[in-house]
Symmetry: C2
Subunit: 236 residues, 2 copies
């Protein structure tokens, strides 16, 4: 590894996170070189993910007051976080001095609820993307979106593309290519159903029905959060 500046990465960890939103980028970014990575939650107790296992925080909010790269993953737990003042306050605090403020999937909605995407272009999970407009952010239908020091990935697996692009921005393209080869990232999806533009109507309908079943009223809740924020005092 050539000499590189030390970096700290903080991933926000919260209940019902989509674990691959976090573990995909964590795999890539752990190979930045001279990097320390933390999974940060309210406490160090295990945090339940959406995939039937927990993740163990490496630090609590109180232990991480600054970071170089903040990364906020998404998941069904997003809405609860958007309503949680303690978590939003931590996100704002570390974002304030971070070099890079980033998100994957519906993690973008958490950044938006923290007031951190107002006036920024951002990616998000396709099914929630338009909700960014309620927070004054501009949704973009791309896998990876850079806007000044905000970097965001689309839904779940886009976190890998996002993290490789961020690696290139930080350590250069040659290093990103090295990480890509190490992870044999030469994807070959067995089907062509990974976006609403490519999936068939029945598959899209089935996805929307699943969300309605497991997270009823989700969009309404997000809209209500946005409306409350619009009438609230600025976050700091």
């Amino acid at each position: 590894m050539p000499e590189t500046a030390p970096l700290h990465i903080a991933f926000l960890l919260y209940p019902d996170v989509t674990q691959l939103d976090l573990t995909g980028p964590a795999q890539v970014l752990s190979r930045l070189g001279n990097v320390r990575l933390d999974l940060v939650a309210k406490t160090r107790e295990p945090v339940q993910t959406d995939a039937q296992f927990t993740l163990l925080p490496t630090a609590s909010f109180a232990e991480v007051r600054r970071t170089d790269i903040l990364c906020v993953p998404g998941g069904f737990g997003t809405v609860a976080v958007m309503e949680d003042a303690e978590t939003l306050a931590w996100v704002r605090q570390v974002a304030d001095t971070a070099q890079w403020v980033t998100s994957v999937c519906t993690g973008s909605l958490i950044l938006a609820a923290a007031g951190l995407l107002t006036g920024y272009r951002a990616a998000c999970h396709w099914a929630s993307r338009e909700q960014l407009t309620w927070f004054g952010a501009e949704p973009v239908a791309e896998r990876v979106v850079f806007d000044r020091n905000r970097v965001s990935g689309g839904g779940v697996t886009a976190g890998i593309d996002f993290a490789l692009a961020l690696t290139a921005a930080i350590r250069g393209e040659a290093h990103a290519k090295f990480v890509q080869l190490s992870l044999e990232y030469d994807p070959a999806p067995p089907f062509d159903s990974g976006s609403p533009e490519r999936a068939d109507a029945a598959t899209i309908a089935r996805y929307r029905a699943m969300v309605d079943k497991f997270a009823p009223g989700r969009a309404d809740k997000v809209r209500a959060i946005a409306e409350r924020l619009a009438h609230a005092a600025p976050p700091r």
Copy 2:
């Protein structure tokens, strides 16, 4: 979710696993429907991964004596597992009655050391793939390889392709497409450096130098394990 047969999935968890080898497939397979997923290790103590965080087992070897789907991930910890009789015995035991015996990345070498790939075609991380021949397995340079009830994925990120293909084999193509859409798996790698056929020579050389530095003599150790096994009595 339509009525589907219940399934149990057991992921082998061990120190220095490449966590995305496990967490990628776990994300996909957790969406099989009517599924219970376990991360199984020697004990329930946290297990260090390669990415600066631990994974917490959901069960110990003693607690899981059967499974429907066994999945063995890879990583720098592979060689130690290949030398560990207790782990290999557990792998053999659960594989014996599993419907599907699977691996990702260098997890294929663990299955091979357990005697479970002799006479089978299998995928593996590109840099270790040829080592399968030492165990009587046939290496295949593909992202996903099915051979009877053995299913294997190539390096790290191939675990996502592998898990979608396995999802289709178990629950049908429509379900796999639904999971793919839910994970927005429409990959767009920012560079074309994900396989040794596509990466440039300097990148390949840098990868090999990294392995030599962090896992010196790795190939020699694997070969020695294979030679010992060739002289050993059959595993059962």
